[in-house]
Amino acid sequence: MFSTDKSSLKDTDISNCDYKISLAGNPNVGKSTIFNELTGLRQHTGNWTGKTVEFARGSCKINDAEFCVTDLPGCYSLLSFSGEEVVTRECLTKNRNDCVVIVVDSGVIERNLSFALQVLSVQKNAVLCLNLCDEAEKNGIKIDCDELSLNLGIPVVRTCATGKKGIDELKQKIYEVCSGKIKCFSVNRNFEGIDILSEKNYEQNIEKLSQISKKISCACVKYEKTDLNRRTKKLDKILTSKVTGIPIMLAMLGVLFWITVTGANYPSEWLSCLFGFVKEKLYILFEILHAPDVVTGLLIDGVYTTLSWVVSVMLPPMAIFFPLFSLIEDSGYLPRIAFNLDKYFSRCGAHGKQSLSMAMGLGCNACGVTGCRIIESPKERLIAILTNNFMPCNGRFPTIIALLLMFFAGTAFTLSSSLEVAALLIGIIVFCVLITLLVSKLLSVTILKGEQSGFVLELPPYRKPQILKTIVRSLLDRTLFVLGRAVAVAAPAGAIIWILANVHISDVSILKYCTDFLDPFGRFIGVDGVIIMAFILGFPANETVIPIIIMSYMASGTLVYYSSYDQLFQLLSMNGWTITTAVCTIILCILHYPCSTTCLTIKKETGSLKWTLVSMALPTAMGIVLCMITAGIMRLF
């Protein structure tokens, strides 16, 4: 999910720049927005705690000096000794920082000041950035910047939620602090007795800091209204109420899926028509060039077919789903989902914030696993990591949509069939969530026993997303991501599979040997050898599962040229696919080992081979058992 430009990462080699600055602050105060404005990069932003869990680096030029900017993960205090906060503290205390930009939410200034004071006790040169000023003003919060600046001994700049406003002034102040034009002073920092790096006096330290920040905010902040954030309160009454909370959540999910399924169908068809057309032309071109059959086969039937599948079938649903999902993310609804569902997560020994990492898993399981860092306690975090793979990621999601469209909605695309698919998708997601909860419960009473830790989650005010910007940004990023992956993973995979399918040993292809070998087992669990083989070969990228299936069937003599779901459906039916096969394939699609990238991420995050293996074995075993049961039941009818 992080789209920091690789090239600019190289450019910002620390030794190259004149000054080094960092952005620090509580979570969800808009650090990433400020970072993007400063550097011109496009770090993803969202209205929820923990959106950024890794640092991002960028550079910017102010006047004629080159600045290296680091966006630190948000944290509530430097005094705590948990997860991402350690990273932030280390970065602030051990690395050289010419200036730290302390970003604070103007609406929650008193609590934010406590963090600012902590930063100031380890870092002399800093600028306070009063972000979300527009929002605070609307709520009748008046902040006296000059007074605040005097109290803290550092320059104070106002900025607003969408960036832009105040950024130039912020840049100027950063420059002046770094170049020594402005001297930060510590006259009023009467908390020098505090050694924030000692764990011992934590309670006294934080209480003292809290008193100081209260005193400062009394002197600098005026509250003109007593009823804050009325819109948020009203919305929360509806979105988290006993009666409407859960139905609205499901309805939103349903609408999201329905728009995705309906909207993706048309571009999907256009793209596959286009690819089909180009394919024919390519055949002709290769003929004119007198290319050997091997080259034609490898490049067109292997690489090109896989590429076109990934682009035409995978791209449209993702290009629609993610911009919409980003809108929900920006609005601040995600933490409410965690809030609504926490009771059940808590009963299963898990953490409500797991629903946030699950939501990230819908995009990419590797991101979801990294996102589990927002869960502080090790036990609950491990549960979240091990179960993240139960959420179908964007490599598997379109496969499920395609199978649902072909086998459950009829190939004619109508309003009722799209509604049916949307309803089935909700069913599948609910199933995934239930599996996640079930496995979390199992883990927490067996191998991950231990005392439950607490749950503290901030619910940010609802914010109106910047609709156009979010959609365009997310669309472009997603498109580039899918295209990049298609080239990097799907193309070589296509070549390998074509070779497997076309290198013959005594008249039988290697692929056929493998699929024949796997066939009895495949049949036993309701699928066939080709499907099992496809999941095995799909380990590097789940996107390639369906193209592998298609190629295996086509190589085995059934020459069907597919360009639409209709023809694909025929190809599959001809190879003995029934409803049972489709159901079992969907089950296997959800329940099998994570892709290679996710496995590596799990290894990195848990630091243990054992847990990585558990995370692979658990879903695979469940998938096989569940398919066996499904196939068994279906055979009865």
Partner: protein, 78 residues
């Protein structure tokens, strides 16, 4: 002065002054970080659809806490 009670017993909309935070170590720090400590004000706002956790207003921010943790936070209603 009204009688002290634990935070989960404080009715919705009634402001309480935090008297003591008795939570166990691993959550205590986090609760302090959010500004819930001796003498700070806290107001219960609403509970989630299944009754737990509940949302509280502390220092102008909305924070969700589980009932289980609230039992260890003693408040005096105002």
């Amino acid at each position: 002065m009204k009688e002290k009670c634990s935070l989960d017993k404080l009715p919705i909309g009634i402001t309480g002054i935090v008297d003591r935070v008795n939570c166990n170590e691993n959550i205590k720090n986090r609760i302090f970080d959010f500004g819930i400590m001796e003498n700070s004000l806290i107001v219960p706002l609403f509970s989630s659809p299944f009754g737990d956790p509940s949302a509280y207003l502390v220092k102008n921010a909305v924070v969700a806490l589980r009932k289980n943790d609230c039992k260890d936070i003693i408040v005096t209603p105002v």
